[in-house]
C-alpha cells in the first residue's frame, strides 16, 4: 500500500508543477519555502513526505489536499485509473466552484434554515398518518411531518409530542433532525395524497415542493 501511495503522490506533485504557471522546480521550491533539492526528492517515487509537507506543497500550488481512508478496492481502482498525463487540479484562481459557489437547491437551503425551528400545524391526524412524510413551507418556515413515517433520504422528523392515529387535531411541534446528512432537495410531493394538498393549502400558505 505504501508503495502505491508513495508512487502516485510524487507523480501528482510532478504533474501539478509541470502544468502550473511556474513549472520549474525552483519556482515551486520558492513558493513552498523549501530547497529545490527537496522538491526533487518529493517528486521521486517512494518519497514519504509528512502531511505538513504535503500541505505546504498544496498551498504553494494553490490547490487543496484531501487525505482519506477508503476501501482497499477503491484504492486499487484509483491506482489503476490514475494517469499523470490526465491529472489536473484547477488552482484557486481558476476554481470557479470556489470563486462563485453554485446555487444550492432552494428547498435544501430552506430546510437547513428550518432545521432548528419548531413548527406547529393543526391537522387531522387521521388524514396525515401514513400519507405525508414531509412538507416544507417555504414562506413561513413551517415543517409538516408525519412522525410515524420512516425516515426518508436520511432525514428523520420527530414529533415533540405524542402522536397517534386517534389524535383528532393537534398542533404538533416537529423538528427535523439529521439535516447534516442530507444535502439534496426535499422530494416528497408524490407521497402527499392529492386530496390532502388543498387541505394543507387551506390551513397554511404552504408551498408544496415539487419532485425534481
Amino acid at each position: 500500500m505504501q508503495a502505491k501511495v508513495c508512487t502516485l503522490v510524487p507523480s501528482q506533485i510532478r504533474a501539478l508543477r509541470l502544468k502550473s504557471e511556474n513549472p520549474r522546480q525552483p519556482d515551486l521550491a520558492g513558493a513552498a519555502e523549501m530547497h529545490q533539492s527537496r522538491i526533487s526528492m518529493l517528486e521521486t517515487p517512494g518519497a514519504n513526505p509528512t502531511l505538513a509537507t504535503l500541505s505546504a506543497i498544496a498551498a504553494a500550488l494553490h490547490v487543496g489536499l484531501k487525505v482519506e481512508f477508503v476501501r482497499m478496492s477503491e484504492m486499487l481502482a484509483w491506482e489503476n485509473g490514475f494517469s499523470q498525463d490526465n491529472f489536473e487540479v484547477a488552482p484557486l484562481d481558476s476554481d470557479t466552484d470556489f470563486l462563485s459557489p453554485p446555487q444550492q437547491d432552494h428547498s435544501a437551503i430552506q430546510a437547513r434554515e428550518l432545521s432548528t425551528s419548531t413548527a406547529y400545524f393543526s391537522f387531522g391526524a387521521d388524514n396525515l398518518d401514513g400519507i405525508v412524510t414531509s412538507v416544507i413551507n417555504g414562506s413561513t418556515g413551517l415543517i409538516l411531518a408525519n412522525p410515524l413515517a420512516a425516515p426518508v433520504n436520511g432525514v428523520k422528523f420527530t414529533a415533540n409530542a405524542p402522536v397517534s392515529n386517534s389524535t383528532a387535531a393537534f398542533p404538533i411541534p416537529v423538528t427535523a433532525q439529521s439535516w447534516n446528512s442530507y444535502a439534496g432537495p426535499i422530494t416528497e410531493h408524490d407521497t402527499v395524497a392529492s386530496e390532502l394538498i388543498p387541505f394543507i393549502h387551506e390551513h397554511t400558505p404552504t408551498t408544496i415542493l415539487e419532485r425534481t
Binding site: 508503495a3 508512487t7 507523480s11 481502482a77 485509473g81 490514475f82 498525463d85
Partner: protein, 147 residues
C-alpha cells in the same frame, strides 16, 4: 499502446509504454535483481513505479527520470529513481528500437557516488552497446493492471 482487459467498473488506463528486461546468458538480469536484491518494500516500489510510468506518455515527465551524463550519455542511458528502505534505487535503461519501448539494463542503488553493484554504470554501458549491436535480447516485463 497495449490493450488490456479490465473489470467493467474500473477505468481503463491508457498504457503508452512497454518495459523490457535485459536478458544475458538466458538470465533475466532485471528480474534476478528484483527478486534477489530488493526487499518486499523495494519490489512493491519498483512495480508501482513501472506501472505508473507506463501510463505517462512523455518520458521527460516520468517521475524519477533523468538522462545520465559522462560516458553513459553516449549510449543515451537514463535512470529511473525510486526510494525504498531508505535507499535510493536506480533502474538504468535505454529506449529500444520499437516505439515507446523502454529497456531496463541493470538495477542498482547508490549512496553519494558509490553504486551497488560498483560496476553498475560500466555494466549498463556494456549492455547498451550489446543491445545496439543486436548482440543481446530482451524480455517484456509483465505489469499487472486491474484489481
Amino acid at each position: 499502446m497495449v490493450a488490456l482487459s479490465y473489470k467493467s467498473d474500473i477505468i481503463e488506463p491508457v498504457i503508452h509504454w512497454s518495459f523490457h528486461d535485459y536478458v544475458e546468458g538466458g538470465q533475466n538480469r532485471i528480474e534476478n535483481w528484483r527478486t534477489n536484491d530488493l526487499s518486499d518494500a523495494g519490489k512493491f516500489g519498483f512495480d508501482s513505479l513501472l506501472k505508473n510510468t507506463a501510463k505517462t506518455e512523455s518520458h521527460l515527465e516520468w517521475t524519477g527520470f533523468k538522462y545520465l551524463k559522462g560516458e553513459a550519455k553516449k549510449e543515451r542511458i537514463w535512470q529511473l529513481d525510486f526510494l525504498a528502505d531508505g535507499r535510493q534505487y536506480r533502474g538504468l535503461g535505454v529506449f529500444g528500437s520499437l516505439r515507446r519501448q523502454a529497456v531496463l539494463l541493470i538495477g542498482c542503488y547508490h549512496k553519494g557516488k558509490v553504486y551497488t553493484p560498483q560496476n553498475a554504470l560500466d555494466t549498463a554501458i556494456k549492455r547498451a552497446k550489446a543491445l545496439r549491436e543486436g548482440k543481446a535480447i530482451t524480455r517484456e516485463r509483465k505489469i499487472k493492471f486491474g484489481l
